[in-house]
């Protein structure tokens, strides 16, 4: 077959029905140091080992259809991130969780899953807000000071160039869940494709403006504790968002 004929055939394939599992997961331990692409590969391979009926994308290089709500940076733990896994048949959510967990590397764990119709809005597009927990000596007062500042200008690398950016508008507020412990703090920040702030930039602003020492900023334990849709304060955890079906 000629290359051109083959290309034509590939684009003619029809749409496949997706049975989506929307699941939440946690990561800790060794897997915290994986970049986003490696993390995706870990999930893909675990699904294949578990022999789950995953749906593959069409085209030249078929990939398992998995969408993560928001990439997780290297060094960030999570207690509750989300991904949509497309299957080619209906699947029991509890069985999905159990089977996948048996094949994930140590440190990655599916918490919950539910079957949803194929969504009209990508899981990525509905994320607006994230909550984080930072743990380091004296972090609470530094974070409180940061939130009292008008601006927090930090240097960000964008396309190989240094860029000054104000991250203060991207920090929302301390969380209710945040207790009085001086060495930990929980807060909300904007997240997602429109407005997003990386935890390492927040930490560098704490060094620059709030008297945090650089070494303890670098050693701060960073945990994402949740991802939400909606406008703060009326935010909803991603897996509780009502799904608009594609059709």
């Amino acid at each position: 077959m000629l290359q051109s004929e083959r290309e034509k055939m590939m684009t003619m394939q029809s749409h496949q029905t997706a049975y989506v599992q929307r699941c939440s997961f946690a990561r800790s331990g060794a897997t915290v140091f994986l970049g986003h692409l490696d993390l995706m590969t870990c999930f893909e391979r675990a699904c294949r080992r578990a022999d789950l009926p995953i749906l593959y994308s069409q085209g030249y290089n078929p990939r398992p259809m998995m969408v993560f709500a928001l990439p997780l940076g290297v060094g960030i733990e999570t207690r509750c991130d989300y991904l949509d896994v497309s299957l080619n048949c209906p699947y029991d959510a509890d069985a999905f969780v159990k089977e996948l967990n048996a094949f994930l590397p140590e440190g990655l764990r599916i918490l919950k899953s539910k079957a949803i119709p194929e969504p009209k809005d990508s899981i990525m597009s509905i994320v607006t807000t994230a909550s984080y927990r930072f743990e380091a000596k004296g972090i609470r007062s530094a974070m409180e000071k940061a939130l009292s500042e008008e601006t927090l200008i930090v240097t960000k690398m964008a396309k190989g160039k240094e860029k000054q950016t104000d991250i203060r508008p991207l920090l929302i507020s301390l969380s209710q869940a945040s207790n009085g412990d001086p060495d930990s703090v929980e807060f909300y920040a904007f997240a997602g494709s429109e407005r997003n702030v990386r935890p390492d930039l927040i930490l560098s602003s704490l060094v620059k403006y709030c008297g945090m020492d650089p070494e303890s900023s670098e050693n701060t334990r960073v945990i994402r504790t949740g991802l939400f849709a909606g406008e703060y304060p009326r935010i909803t955890p991603i897996d509780e968002v009502e799904v608009r079906p594609l059709q």
Partner: protein, 661 residues
Amino acid sequence: MKQYPVPLSKSDLMSVESPARYVGGEFNAVIKEDMMEELEKTGKTSYVRFAFCFPDIYEIGMSNLALQILYHVLNESDFVACERAFSPWLDMDKILREKNIPLYSQETKTPLCDFDILGFTLGYEMCYTNVLQMMDLGKIPLLAKDRGEDDPVICCGGPCAYNIEPMADFFDIAMMGEGEEMILELSEKVREYKLSKNTDHPMTRAELLRNCDAIEGIYVPSLYDVSYFPDDASAKAAGAPARGAYVVPSDDGVKKVIKKRIIKDLDTCTYPTSPVVSNLRVVHDRGYLEVFRGCIRGCRFCQAGFIYRPVREKSVEVLCEQGRQLEKNTGFDEMGLLSLATSDYTQFPELAENLLSTFEGHHTSLSLPSLRLDSFSLDLMEKVQSTRKSGLTFAPEAGTQRLRDVINKNIKEEDIFSALRLAFMGGWSTVKLYFMLGLPTETDEDVLGIADLAKRIEKLYFDIGRETGQKMRRLDITVSTSLFIPKPFTPFQWEPQNSKEELIRKQRLLKDNLRSRNIHYAWHDFDSSVWEVVLARGDRRLAPVLLEGYRSGRFFDAWDDHFKLEKWVEILEKHGLTIEDFAREFSEEETLPWDHISVGVNKKFLLSERHKAHAETTTPSCREHCSGCGAAAWGVGECFAKRNAASGVSADGTAMKEGDA
């Protein structure tokens, strides 16, 4: 599986290039929890703790099949616990040194000095200095003679172990040949040694090494005396032996010749169908099926072609079953067939067909390296590569038929052109051609032959376009040259290496004659090839050189950016040696530093092959005709496969006698 904490702060991990290399936690990694509990309670264990060390970075080490095979073999046994360790990259190396943190294992983060055995796999000479880095960071004395009763036993294996002389002062033990059985026999001896420490008659390290010498395939360098005799006519007249490096047992109790080990039946030999799956993407990110060992071809420059003899195949059934398990246990979406020449597998069409149907509908692709191109393999590539047309690769190695005959590379121009005709008609437009510069007897005519071949391929492509009236894509021919390095245990082990100046001249000559918008020329770094020959054909005089080089910060020599030839030459000369001592032509009379090692192919055969090379005479493949190299002495594999009557000599008693080196 319990996770053991990394002895590094988060900021240290976050400051290095790829922190995931240093944290472990991979799927299918093995931790023997009962051992860890025992250690926690009593501080001791009766398990033999084995650290499998790969002297390069994690992503390269995790792509290594030897690591996966031996890790599996060791952990399958009930008395060994094997963990992995890799060379930390320069950024992590710096942190470990500054903070005085010993290099640790991936699984339980145990410092290397707390293991009973360290086993290094030596796949390429340029990793030698990384062996020293790992031992040093692992808090282990570098020289074997400086190690005491409580230090680990340091051993090595792999293709470079066959001439371990340059590294002999650093290793306690070198293993010759395939390790599946030998490594357990060695571990058993270490276990006896370890257990004896709790008795009234503890065994000494010296006794342990003696016991290991009794194992076939194991070489204990410290039990041999070495003397060097220069090329000195007057000394020779006075009765001195011929030039050479003589490695002789220090007493009668030590074996004179160390014979390599092989696995006779690969079908029944254990194979890792649940290899450790890296969380991080590695160099060769796929599952491997080892199809056969050895090669029937006998290209005269190729060390692998001789040291892995005799050819032994796995059956189609075993391979398909292993493939099925491998896919299931790893989740890899690509399976690679591994051997020196996939097309030489006798049942290749059946294997390919069966594997394709095994993986059908799983979105698992099959990677088929080292295929000989013909209509069958092109058809197969169409099937396995689903859509994308990747490049076609040919390795003619030399530019003229004359030189191809010299090196015994059985590839004919007619074959290349007929395969390319088919491929070009089928839409392929990327061709890679691999050659070597500096081969024995090479003339400028041979060098220009490379350019000529590339240009005729270019012409063929456009001729086909004209003939068929097809709209052709842009053609991309890459000509790639590496440099000939004479290697031990090949017919070219005596050959000189061209000087750097001569190689540069030849490269320039080729470059000037390859000017075309469709042809790219890629070449290999000269400097590292110059040093590689020193290490490949070196002897024990190099130990102080390597030690001084390492001490002055020279390691990661396999990485061109870090390799500095001039520094090494400086150190070499300081120790009274030159590049020429190792790059020169070795005389056929001289005793070579590796003559006390037997790979099963005898020296007489290698010598006759060398003479045939200079006479431009080829040798048929093992499948066509047994040439009596000596490997038939094992009584297995290709040497004893049924040949058709026309093929003449079969492996018989004569070959067996010759095989006994």
